[in-house]
Amino acid sequence: MMQFIHKYGSPRYYYQWSKGWQKWLSIITVVLLVIGLYQGFFVAPPDYQQGESYRIIFIHVPAAWMSMFVYMVMAFAGIMALVWRIKVAEIVVGECAILGASFTAMALITGMLWGKPMWGTYWVWDARLTSELVLLFLYFGVIALHGAFDDPRTGAKAASILAIVGVINIPIIKYSVEWWNTLHQPATVAKFDKPSMHISMLIPLLIMAVAFKTYFLSLLFMRSRSEVLAREKNASWVKEILKEQS
């Protein structure tokens, strides 16, 4: 097990195996995005109450799911970075923070655009909106801490600790905010009985959710691969690659 982790986590080997993954995930992302967006924007029927403007959920909801998911990935990578001192995990923490903050901002902005015609205002101090905003602040903290150190490895370790403390705190923050104020419609998909959403809307939403996951992973591979090259620029295997390229 440990050998496995160290082998796949060594920068050189990571750079090799992630190449194929990145390529295929990017292709899958494009295909799924095209199908999902087409289904969501043209095939799915309009909502009987919200009309056409509900269609923004095909972007909004996957982005909101990703905002939480990426934080989990980041905290997990943080544990790997602190416990096993894997260089690639340190890089993943930093890249996750930036990608996660982008997804969170995307969820907030699309939500605000949807809120104006639906609720009559861009912003309400509602539980879900507020906890999403707090999540964005948490990401900002990790990004700021990650970049504050001269030595990137120290920055990554500090950011990992913060991410782990944050992952314990997120449920507490979420529930405290929920008790404080709630107006947002409750979750319509993740219910134990039948989802309260028609199947013709649910399918494009799930396709989009998977597309966002693969999109995140392919971006993560892309960004971390170039970061690996930058960090290991003095290693002999990187120099060989550079020679081949030029």
Binding site: V134, L138, G141, V165, W179
Partner: protein, 209 residues
């Protein structure tokens, strides 16, 4: 315990607390009803900021003169040492705030029958503020401009404390039961007291990398 020898530095966050609270009537309006409604929030937010301002004191001077490094090299559990540090910080900032807050709440026309809940929430929560704040300070210790960054990291974590405390105070001002909020705050205090010293030790290790 060196802190006692530098009383002036210690008093600064408390003076800050008093001044900021008295700025609100000037900035918003001296209207009695409005102020008494805002009082729990104003006092709590100001207490958060005052605690944040004082966080730097916790490790900074010990870090600068190297004694923190020596303390970490001592045999025995580091977690206890950090726990003692945090307790000392709370005794020098949190406790005075608990005493000052009821006095300042009178300036905001806060209903007197709810002052008891204000004191109780502050008593339970100020240790949480010191605990959470110590993580931020420990992470940013080796940076030159760590102060503002550390507040940026820590403020989001203060949100649950702020929410539960002000909800408890508002409930008590409206003569509603409050023990549930106290229990939640107490649970939060116990969890953070158990887990945070470990995070602080790890963070200090990173700072001394």
């Amino acid at each position: 315990m060196l802190a006692i020898r530098r009383r002036r530095e210690l008093a600064n966050p408390l003076v800050f607390f008093v001044i900021v609270v008295s700025l609100f009537p000037l900035g918003v309006s001296p209207d009695k009803e409005l102020l008494s409604q805002m009082a729990p929030g104003v006092i709590w937010v100001t207490a958060l900021l005052a605690t944040l301002m004082s966080m730097d004191v916790m490790f900074r001077s010990d870090y600068d003169d190297g004694s923190l490094e020596q303390l970490l090299l001592l045999p025995g559990p580091k977690v206890l040492l950090i726990g003692a540090k945090i307790t000392a910080h709370w005794a020098s900032i949190g406790l005075p705030l608990v005493v000052l807050a009821p006095i300042m709440s009178l300036l905001l026309y806060f209903p007197t029958h709810a002052i008891g809940s204000l004191v109780v929430t502050l008593l339970i929560s100020t240790p949480i503020l010191s605990l959470l704040g110590s993580v931020g300070v420990a992470l940013t210790l080796s940076l030159r401009s760590g102060g503002i960054l550390s507040s940026l990291l820590i403020l989001p974590f203060y949100i649950p404390v702020l929410i539960f405390s002000t909800m408890a105070i508002n409930a008590s001002a409206n003569s509603l039961p409050v023990s549930g909020y106290y229990a939640l705050l107490g649970a939060f205090l116990i969890i953070s007291a158990l887990l945070i010293p470990f995070a602080v030790v790890a963070a200090l290790r990173v700072s001394y990398n």
